[in-house]
Amino acid sequence: MTALLEVDGLTVRYGPGCEHCDYLPAGEVSCATCGSVFGCRDVCLQLDRGEVLGIVGESGSGKSTVLSCLNLDFAPTAGRILLDGDDIAGADGSRRRRLRAADLGIVYQSPQQGLDLALSAGANVAGRLLALDWRSYEEVRSRALAHHISVELAEERIDDPARAFSGGMRQRVQLARALISTPKLLLLDEPTSGLDVSVQARILDLIRRIRRETELAMVIVSHDLAVIRMLAERVIVMRGGRVIEPGLTDQVLCDPQHPYTQLLVSSQLT
């Protein structure tokens, strides 16, 4: 059976590249000879429907670069991204817009990145449907309202501007916006970082509920191993743009093999 998502050899390089780039020391992301910098290198991963994959690593390890490639923010230098068997890595123009509106949903750490804070919550959520050529106001409005409520936002606040919402509520608006087109893949980039712990807990509970109810495939990037442990059954650990340890989440956390993973796990406050 084909996996929902298959990523193979994903590489993002900023700079010309040279023969020395292939021999960078472990953990090194820039080439001293040509000055190229690697956002990620040779990343491979697979994801089935209903599965959640976590990506962990320190700042600059390449985890958000991988997520941006999956969201088609930019095309990788090399590698394939197969979604349902179709290579979408190099999609451009209208195909890319359509894939982003229909098949991919994303929640960014910063709501400013995912929302237009000057627009109402409802308009932000409905925006994706307009990109998919929904034209009936009533249909768009009623679907946006259903999703607004499903992420546990108060119905009467649907016309309030997103900027009037708290941090946790803005993440809910982002979730509603991501889910309204019933995407195949939900991408979560540090969705709870910067929120206070009680709000963080409620957002995580919401993501768990969505997962249970929709069987949606998700990729979640976080530097917080507790978040990954709660949401993902498989994880990849990244460092210097490369995957240094893939595995089952409980196994990677209980029996880390790579020196860096051991450091990461032992550094967690629990």
Binding site: A201, D205, R212, E233, P246, L248, D255, Q257, H258
Partner: protein
């Protein structure tokens, strides 16, 4: 039929943060579990009992040997199969430990329901194990060690998995609740489940334990 067969299992840890110090915890384990049987591992702390269970569930990665899961479907080597195959196989093998490993904010009955059990059955299971009804909707974050252990065991028993790995699942229970927990485990065995369990005090529940194996320094020795 053999439900689970362990052949030549070795496991060591390399502490990269401790100068690469190597510590062997399992040094050649051979063990075959008959379907519907209950095998108890006992031995001093650090002898490797829990490591055997964790390798069987793949929470630990085995360094050598095979762990062949045969019950409930096609044979899977839990020591070497790919991660996604292991996730599928975990539908046939359950691990319950003495520590709660779930979201502590979700109500106890909801946690059991998440395993695919109806709310009514979840309530009955928690009742049978001795969790007061007033606590069924409360979150385990506020529970005592024993109450958490009941929730853990209820979750492990919620799904009808053919093989159950039980790691000191009654360690924090009072004698009355320990008795109830052992009765529930014995019922699961009567229904055909194969059990591999770690107990410091081997239970005397009639019909539960078929054999007791002693572990020392990562090896099985005569009981």
């Amino acid at each position: 039929m053999i439900a689970l067969e362990i052949c030549g299992l070795h496991k060591h840890f390399v502490g990269h943060l401790n100068g690469g110090r190597r510590r062997s915890v399992l040094r050649g384990i051979d063990l075959a579990l008959q379907e519907g049987s209950c095998t108890v591992l006992r031995g001093p702390s650090g002898s490797g009992k829990s490591s055997v269970l964790r390798c069987c569930y793949r929470t630990y990665r085995a360094d050598a040997g095979q762990i062949l899961l045969r019950a409930g479907g096609e044979e899977v080597d839990m020591a070497s199969a790919g991660d996604r195959e292991i996730l599928r196989a975990r539908g046939r093998i359950g691990l319950a430990t003495q520590f709660l490993s779930v979201v502590p904010r979700v109500g106890a009955a909801d946690l059991v329901c998440e395993q695919g059990m109806s709310r009514e059955r979840a309530g009955e299971t928690l009742d049978a194990l001795g969790l007061p009804p007033a606590l069924h909707d409360a979150a385990p974050a506020t529970f005592s060690g024993g109450e958490r252990q009941i929730v853990n065991l209820a979750i492990a028993l919620a799904r009808q998995r053919p093989v159950l790995l039980l790691d000191e699942v009654t360690a924090s229970l009072d004698p009355r609740r320990r008795g109830r927990a052992l009765t529930a485990i014995a019922e699961r065995k009567s229904a055909g489940a194969t059990l591999l369990a770690v107990f410091h005090d081997v239970p005397e529940t009639p019909g539960l334990v078929d054999r007791v194996l002693e572990m020392r320094d990562g090896r099985l020795v005569a009981a």
